[in-house]
């Protein structure tokens, strides 16, 4: 069974509905660690050594966050900048992450239609997430198809639909663990 690390980034958890539910649902799984970045590092003072140790002892890394300005919240970017050091994540001797899996799990306000070439945002989600895909590639990780929840704005008031998505997320993670 694979050990999953959810690196979670949400700057205003108290206002979240969907992400909170997703996290709660994931938390019920075995051998899965939830790492809440904004709770751990409110002042952005990331403990690089600690983070690297966490990465070492897990097989599948999940970046879970709400999609902001076509990317992740800023602390996750800071985390990437600091933690994925030369000699650890990449470079000649940087093989700590090689062979691990990377999954992006995110939620967007707009519907799936707007994330099309003909749509309002002009690019697909897969394209917006290219930097993560390239990061995975540089670190020798296998990049999994992203888990995306669209239309978060409409979903907010629908408890049942949120629960459905949360269950889907849990199933998805469970499948990753056992495959």
């Amino acid at each position: 069974m694979k050990r999953i690390l959810i690196v979670f980034a949400h700057p205003a958890m108290e206002k979240s509905k969907i992400q909170k539910q997703l996290l709660a649902s994931a938390a019920t799984l075995q051998s899965l660690t939830i790492h809440d970045l904004y709770e751990q590092y409110p002042d952005f003072a990331i403990n690089v050594h600690h983070e690297q140790e966490l990465l070492r002892i897990h097989d599948t890394i999940v970046f879970q966050f709400p999609f902001y300005w076509y990317s992740s919240p800023s602390l996750l970017k800071e985390w990437l900048d600091l933690v994925l050091e030369y000699g650890f994540a990449y470079g000649h001797s940087g093989t700590a992450l090689a062979g691990k899996q990377l999954l992006i799990a995110t939620s967007t306000g707009g519907s799936q239609e707007v994330y099309q070439h003909e749509g309002h945002n002009k690019y697909t989600m897969r394209e917006f997430l290219h930097p993560f895909e390239a990061t995975a590639s540089l670190c020798g990780m296998s990049y999994l198809p992203p888990f995306i929840i669209h239309g978060a704005h409409q979903l907010r008031t629908n408890e049942e639909a949120i629960q459905q998505q949360a269950d889907r997320y849990r199933e998805h993670l469970l499948l990753l663990q056992t495959s």
């Binding site: 002042d43 003072a45 403990n47 690089v48 690297q52 070492r56 900048d81 600091l82 050091e85 030369y86 000699g87 650890f88 470079g91 001797s93 940087g94 093989t95 700590a96």
Partner: protein
């Protein structure tokens, strides 16, 4: 002297012997006191004699204190939060009940003025008995508890005109009687002006005179002196009031209201509470001892019907009020039966101004006895009511939560509102977190007042003070006192008595931080550490470093320092025999040594590829 000691012995011994029984049978301490009084009185054991009237006069002073304390509770915020039930239910109850009882009195042949006055006096219920009965059954916070509290509060407010102004209206009519009795030598209009002037004087002195006096006394930091001052204040009011023929309770109540928003409120409350308890007990004992059973025995049928009429009329009117204000049926039963007894004010009234309004003496003493009997029966009725309700509806929902009690139950208590506590308090307030503040420095409290910050004067290591500040309901206790030893002492005390609290403490230095840790504080902050480090950042920037670098360097230093301090804590214990100054010097030395060995090069590693490549992290497989 011996006589006095004997009397004191009889009164206290009766209380000590009877009240535990009262507690055991859940009939309430007040009723226990009454029974104790009756037992030692002239109709049973004959242990007390002619002095009992004197004792009663003395014990009435207990009621003066009760009213002072009740006045203290009357903060504008409490009134506002409960305005609907206080003014709605309270006035409805008083009006209905006055009409009902007054009509009966009028029908019995009394004049309409006397009837109205009698009706309103008998409409009042006993706070001592009701609130205790409800608290014993855990009802203080339920709809019933809050409704009863509101009604009783309104009755207290109404007692002002009842005890003072109404008799005035009747003085005209009974002028001749009064002069022959010699209770008041002033004509009515002069009396009225006098009352208004004195009320004004109390309000004015409460605002402008008492505060500086309390501030001065508080600065001397002598608890006994503060208690003495509080007693002097109440006794002075009583004396002045008696001179002018106004009930002293009224003046004390007014003084209490004036001081309700004062920063010394909690301290006053805690200081007077024990005196009040004892004197109120004494009051009920002497009421019991003074009961005129002769009158009762001469007219048993009349007494019985008066008592019954009183209780029934009260229950019916209270029930109607409860109905109007949406109490459920079971709640309404408890509410109307709990409040269906005469008030302790009635005793004061009957002995104070009964003949002033032309009430015959024998009727007055009958009514007095009737009120006492209604009190005695009150717990019995409540028991019966509970019993029947439990039989009929075993799962009645009496614990419905009422709107939360206003204020004084803040989640945070801050002890010490000086330079440190102020910042914490202001920050929490800015985020809409209510704080109850306890501060010992009278000057600080005064200064804060000028800047619209509310702080209460009081020593935070006093348990009674902590209780009245609402510590049982608090979640976080912040210790921000200046004196290091006092901080540790307080942390130990809180940890022992209120283990549910999250204790956060301000530490003077590293050594003090260790002591606080030992005492059980959960979060400890060294008072100068963060600000010193911030200044360090500014120093680096002034020397040309980028702000981001300086800030990151400070973060790293903080981590390093916290680790060093933690590690030193274990070594610290072995060196407790060394003098404080020496320990400080050694600590500094150790810290400096550690600073030398630390590696700062990783501050900018993330954004400096060259640095990363030159010091590669351990390769892993």
């Amino acid at each position: 002297m011996q006589n006095f000691l004997w009397e004191a012995f009889v009164y206290l011994a009766a209380t000590v012997l009877v009240v535990p029984f009262a507690k055991h049978f859940r009939i309430g301490a007040a009723v226990g006191y009454l029974i104790a009084g009756i037992i030692i009185g002239p109709y049973l054991l004959k242990l007390v004699g002619s002095e009992r009237e004197t004792v009663l006069r003395f014990a009435e002073f207990g009621l003066v204190m009760v009213l002072f304390l009740e006045g203290l509770q009357l903060q504008p915020t409490v009134l506002w939060n409960l305005r609907r039930s206080i003014f709605g239910m309270g006035s409805a109850q008083l009006t209905l009940s006055t009409i009902a009882i007054g009509t009966l009195a009028w029908a019995c042949g009394l004049t309409w003025q006397t009837s109205i006055l009698l009706g309103s006096i008998l409409s009042l219920s006993s706070s001592a008995i009701t609130m205790q009965a409800l608290e014993e059954r855990g009802h203080e916070k339920t709809a019933v508890g809050q409704s009863s509290f509101s009604v009783l509060l309104f009755q207290d407010l109404a007692a002002i005109p009842l005890l003072a102004i109404f008799p005035l209206l009747l003085i005209q009519r009974t002028h001749s009687i009064q002069e022959s009795h010699g209770t008041s030598t002033h004509p009515a209009w002069l009396q009225a002006i006098l009352i208004i002037c004195i009320m004004g004087a109390i309000v004015a002195s409460g605002k402008y005179l008492l505060r500086p006096i309390f501030r001065f006394i508080a600065r001397l930091r002598s608890r006994e002196l503060f208690t003495a001052t509080a007693l002097v204040l109440i006794i002075a009011i009583t004396l002045i009031m008696e001179l002018t023929g106004i009930p002293p309770a009224l003046g004390a109540f007014l003084a209490g209201v004036v001081l309700a928003n004062n920063e010394y409120r909690y301290e006053l409350e805690a200081d007077i509470e024990p005196f009040k308890g004892l004197l109120v007990g004494l009051f009920f004992v002497s009421v019991g001892a003074c009961l005129n059973f002769g009158a009762v025995i001469n007219a048993p049928a009349l007494t019985a019907s008066i008592v019954l009429a009183l209780i029934l009329l009260k229950i019916v009117t209270l029930f109607i009020v409860g109905r109007i204000f949406n109490l459920s049926l079971t709640e309404n039963f408890l509410f109307s039966i709990s409040l269906a007894q005469g008030s302790e004010f009635a005793f004061v009234f009957f002995s104070f101004s009964a003949n002033a309004i032309g009430l015959p003496e024998n009727i007055a003493s009958l009514l007095n006895a009737a009120v006492a009997l209604s009190m005695l029966f009150s717990p019995l009725f409540v028991h019966m009511q509970q019993y029947f309700l439990n039989r009929v509806t075993p799962t009645h929902s009496q614990n419905k939560e009422f709107a939360p009690l206003p204020l004084q139950e803040h989640p945070v208590i801050i002890a010490g509102f000086g330079r440190f506590g102020q910042i914490v308090g202001r920050f929490l307030r800015a985020n809409n977190i209510g704080c109850t503040i306890l501060e010992l420095n009278a000057d600080t409290v005064f200064t804060l007042e000028k800047f619209d910050q509310k702080a209460f004067y009081g020593d935070a290591t006093r348990v009674d003070l902590l209780e009245s500040a609402g510590i049982a309901k608090a979640k976080v206790f912040i210790i921000a006192i200046d004196e290091a030893e006092k901080c540790t002492e307080l942390a130990t005390l809180i940890k022992k008595l209120y283990p549910h609290l999250h204790i956060m403490a301000r530490a003077y230095d590293v050594i003090h931080a260790h002591e606080l840790h030992e005492a059980g504080a959960d979060i400890i902050e060294r008072e100068t550490f963060s600000s010193s480090l911030d200044l360090g950042i500014e120093a680096l920037r002034a020397l040309g470093f980028r702000a981001h670098f300086a800030t990151r360097a400070a973060r790293l230093f903080r981590k390093h320092d916290e680790k060093a301090v933690r590690e030193m804590a274990s070594i610290e214990k072995m060196e407790t025999y060394v003098s404080l100054a020496k320990r400080r010097a050694r600590e500094l030395e150790k810290l400096l040594q550690r600073d030398n060995t630390k590696n700062d090069s990783d501050i900018d590693k993330a954004w400096d590829l060259a640095a990363q490549r030159s010091t590669p992290t351990e390769p892993t497989t």
